[in-house]
Symmetry: C2
Amino acid sequence: MSREYVYRGRILNLVLERDGNTTYELVEHGPAVMILAQTPQGVALVHQHRPAIGGDTLELPAGLVEPGETLLDAAQRELAEEVGLGARGWELLVSAYVSPGFCSEKLSVFRAWDLYESRRAPDPDEQMQVVYLSPAEALALIRSGEVETSAPTVIGLLLAQT
Amino acid sequence: MSREYVYRGRILNLVLERDGNTTYELVEHGPAVMILAQTPQGVALVHQHRPAIGGDTLELPAGLVEPGETLLDAAQRELAEEVGLGARGWELLVSAYVSPGFCSEKLSVFRAWDLYESRRAPDPDEQMQVVYLSPAEALALIRSGEVETSAPTVIGLLLAQT
C-alpha cells in the first residue's frame, strides 16, 4: 500500500492511496461542527453563498474546528460568530462522516439551549443572513427543492422535531 | 475570479478558485444516492471498510451515480449490487449536499418498498456485509459511538422512524 500527497492545502489534502490494483482518491479534511439552536422565533438558520456548489444554501450554523479547539469550543464560537447567540446548555446529538467513501470530514451536531444574545462577527469572507424558521417549515422548503441545504442540516432539523 | 485545476481524477477534481483575496479549495464530485429499504428483518445496512477514514462504517446502501444513469437508476443498481434486493416502489425522500463548504457532492435519499430478492454483486474492490437492524437499534449504536456512519445514513434512519 502506498500513499501519495497530490495537494496539501489550508482546509484539505488530496491523497492517492494505492492498495493492490485499486487507487483511492482520498480527501483529508478536519472535523466540523453544526449547531441546532431553537429560539422562540424558530430554529436559527444561515442563508449564504457557497462557491463549491455555485449557489446559495440554507443551513444550520456550522464551521470547521480550529487548531486547539474542542468540538464544543468550535460550536460555541460558530454560534456566536454566525448567529450572535450564546448558550448555557450544550448537548452533542450525533457525529457522522459527511461522505466516508472519499473524505475524512466528521461532523458533530450539537443542540444549544438556554440562549442569550452575543456579539455577531462573521468571517469577512462569509456573507450570511440569519433566518428563523420552524423545523417543519425549513424541512418543507428543503424537501420541495425550493432551497438547497447540507445533509447535516437535515439531521438537525429532523432531530428538532423529536 | 480565476479557477485552477490542481487535479482531475476518477471520482473527483480539485479546483482552486480565487475571488479577490480569497482562495477557495473546492472539490468537484458527482452526485450520489442512498437507499432506505425496510424489510421484515429490519433496515438493510452495509458494514464495510472505508479507507478514507481508516476504519469501518455501518451505512445505508449508497453509491455514486454513473454516467448516463438517472438518480433512480443508480439507486436501483446500488440496492441490487450491495444488498441483493429489488423494489417495485421508489420515492425520493430528500436531497442535500454532503459538505457544501468545499464539495459539490449532492446525495439523494430514496425509500424503496415492495421489495424482492435480486442478485447481489458487489464491486470487487468493496468488501461489505449486509446487516439488518431496526432504525432505533441502528441509531442507538451510532449515537453511542459504537459504530461510525455517514450523515446521510442518519437522515435515512431518522426518516425511517416517522
